[in-house]
Symmetry: C2
Subunit: 204 residues, 2 copies
Amino acid sequence: MRNEIPEISLRRLPVYLNYLKSLPIGNPKNISSGAIAKALKLGEVLVRKDLAYTTAIGKPKTGYEVVALIRAIEEYLCFYSVSNAVIVGAGGIGMALMSYKGFSNYGINIVAAFDNDQDKIGTMIEDKPVYAIEDMSKRVMEYEVKLAVLCVPVEVAQSVADVLVDSGVKAILNFAPIQLRVPDGVKVRDMDVAANLALLAREL
Amino acid sequence: MRNEIPEISLRRLPVYLNYLKSLPIGNPKNISSGAIAKALKLGEVLVRKDLAYTTAIGKPKTGYEVVALIRAIEEYLCFYSVSNAVIVGAGGIGMALMSYKGFSNYGINIVAAFDNDQDKIGTMIEDKPVYAIEDMSKRVMEYEVKLAVLCVPVEVAQSVADVLVDSGVKAILNFAPIQLRVPDGVKVRDMDVAANLALLAREL
């Protein structure tokens, strides 16, 4: 089941992909989990387990066919079923995410950002438009976006989340240090920097 | 044990604190977990469990003494044992974190940032200096900083982490989409935005 891949494994899949794509085409034709493990300084068993989440099949002596393995990882990472997402709040974190190149490796396509700063509205960041927050509901429905990254100030996070949910958003990655209240069926993942730092600090 | 508090509970403690501090001093003198729960739209049992991580003691009928509860939460959140931290990489995310006001609620004090951008080096962001990355090792040792937030580009993340570890850093909050290799005894927590978005997308 796709949903059950551990986060840590999911994060390694693009690493394997980048490595495999860095190899000259057709050389080698096949590669073993041991060779991948060695190149990336990972454990061989770990590599084999990670790759087992994809449809790739390694054979006992020859290993994986490189082309098939690339294809299987790409497929797993949803290269062929891209999810559109919007960024709400084009402040420091929002802007950084607009410019981040790594989303496509995970099948994520950032389609637009929303902000209330007149200097930003109407501009493009990395070919992606910044729209007025007033237009968010309309645009989200228009794009049929189900995925949003919330980077607005904490004071408005809940009300903005409410609008997103009313507009059809089903999953929110939340950077605001607040526990969002959302209806059943809407998923939230929190990226609370301060809480994570505090947890690290406690382990010192 | 401090280390065992679930992240979700830790994140709620500042919420309780803000609420309690918003009450007029001495009115009420005592507050029940039920009243806190109602005000914050949380479950009463949940509130009681969260507060049980602190040294606060609620009495059956009167509840918690407000002043003592504030004190207990602050104490738990390490107001009295602040951890210094540095931010490495003053790009979008790094800059956003420099300006973030919420760290002090978790006992985190950002002392400085490091970057290689000549336009940023020597400037102050929210009263915090931005130093040259070449000076990082020296400064980290000088400040005896054990905690670092890594917001540098993925290509240099590992080498920067190596320098941090060599300079005495024991815990890294890592925003770079890479699995850092660190020696035993050094903790890493990953804040991988793309992987988290991908995990949400899979649940749609």
